[in-house]
């Protein structure tokens, strides 16, 4: 599915450019979600379904939630007002919507063409990833756990510092 690969690649590039050029943080995040989905499709067409799933679960799921929390906590959304309709005007969602629709067309093309949807090379199954990860790259896995430990402790401290100004 070379066509799907090029469509997803183009969507990823356009969406990422729009992330950088948006003035509103939330609008930039909308484009970022589209960009991450597009990269997931690119990974899938390159024969890495496991990495594609990771891209959706971790990046488009958890990391975006984290970004939204950051926007909310720092209150950089701005333009807070009672006029909710202003926020729902088409200009803010039509761009990401169109890009996501283009991506959907690419995905439907992949589904319609059958399961064998690779540009080139060999598909790497999650099973092979497991064998490689816990075989030659075992040290990397243990180092990743240490990195995650640092992230855990850091998250706990960041959460703690937010509460102190309230006197708790």
């Amino acid at each position: 599915m070379t066509v799907a690969f090029y469509i997803a690649g183009a969507v990823a590039v356009i969406a990422t450019l729009l992330v950088v050029t948006r003035r509103s943080t939330i609008h930039a995040l909308l484009y970022l979600v589209v960009s991450l989905f597009a990269v997931a499709v690119v990974f899938y067409t390159l024969g890495a379904p496991f990495v594609a799933a990771l891209e959706v679960i971790v990046y488009a799921g958890a990391i975006i939630v984290l970004f939204l929390f950051t926007v909310m906590l720092l209150n950089i959304g701005g333009e807070a007002g009672p006029d909710a309709r202003r926020r729902l005007r088409p200009a803010s969602w039509i761009g990401p919507g169109v890009l996501a629709a283009v991506l959907l067309v690419g995905l439907v093309a992949i589904i319609a063409s059958g399961a064998n949807a690779r540009v080139g090379g060999r598909a790497v199954e999650p099973r092979e990833v497991g064998v490689a990860l816990y075989g030659p790259y075992a040290i990397g896995v243990e180092l990743a756990s240490t990195l995650l430990l640092a992230a855990l402790i850091g998250a706990r401290h960041l959460g703690q510092r937010r509460r102190e100004p309230d006197g708790r």
């Binding site: 971790v58 209150n75 497991g130 240490t146 995650l148 430990l149 706990r156």
Partner: protein, 122 residues
């Protein structure tokens, strides 16, 4: 093969269209039947029968953001466990020990966060 596959997707499309038509139809029916007598009081926000004060667009504390941060760490941990789980038998004892060490390091972090009260609801 491919045509049978596409026929199955046509059923999905039919269900989507029928479902959407049902929603629109019910809303249209009630719109035709119910009486309309608008007044400013009817369009005001209902808040337990009391006059609403201020507007609803103000920042409030997201107390569970710390849980979102911690979840992210364990989300990535689950990602590492998944390839191990599907190759469990092939990896044998060495893979099992590697995973135990991996989980133990993170368990230390969880115990630390727990003891420091990061999991308390504030």
């Amino acid at each position: 093969m491919t045509t049978a596959f596409l026929t199955n997707w046509i059923y999905v499309a039919v269900f989507i269209v029928a479902g959407a038509a049902m929603v629109v139809g019910i809303l249209l029916m009630s719109r035709l039947v119910y009486p309309i007598h608008p007044s400013p009081e009817k369009y005001s926000t209902y808040e337990c029968g009391i006059e609403p004060v201020g507007d609803s667009w103000h920042p409030f504390a997201v107390r569970y953001h710390i849980f979102a941060l911690l979840f992210l760490v364990f989300d990535v941990e689950a990602i590492f466990l998944f390839p191990w789980a599907i190759t469990f038998r092939r990896l044998g004892t060495s893979g099992f020990v590697e995973v135990l060490v991996f989980i133990a390091v993170l368990a230390v972090g969880l115990a630390y966060a727990w003891l420091k009260g990061a999991l308390e609801w504030v």
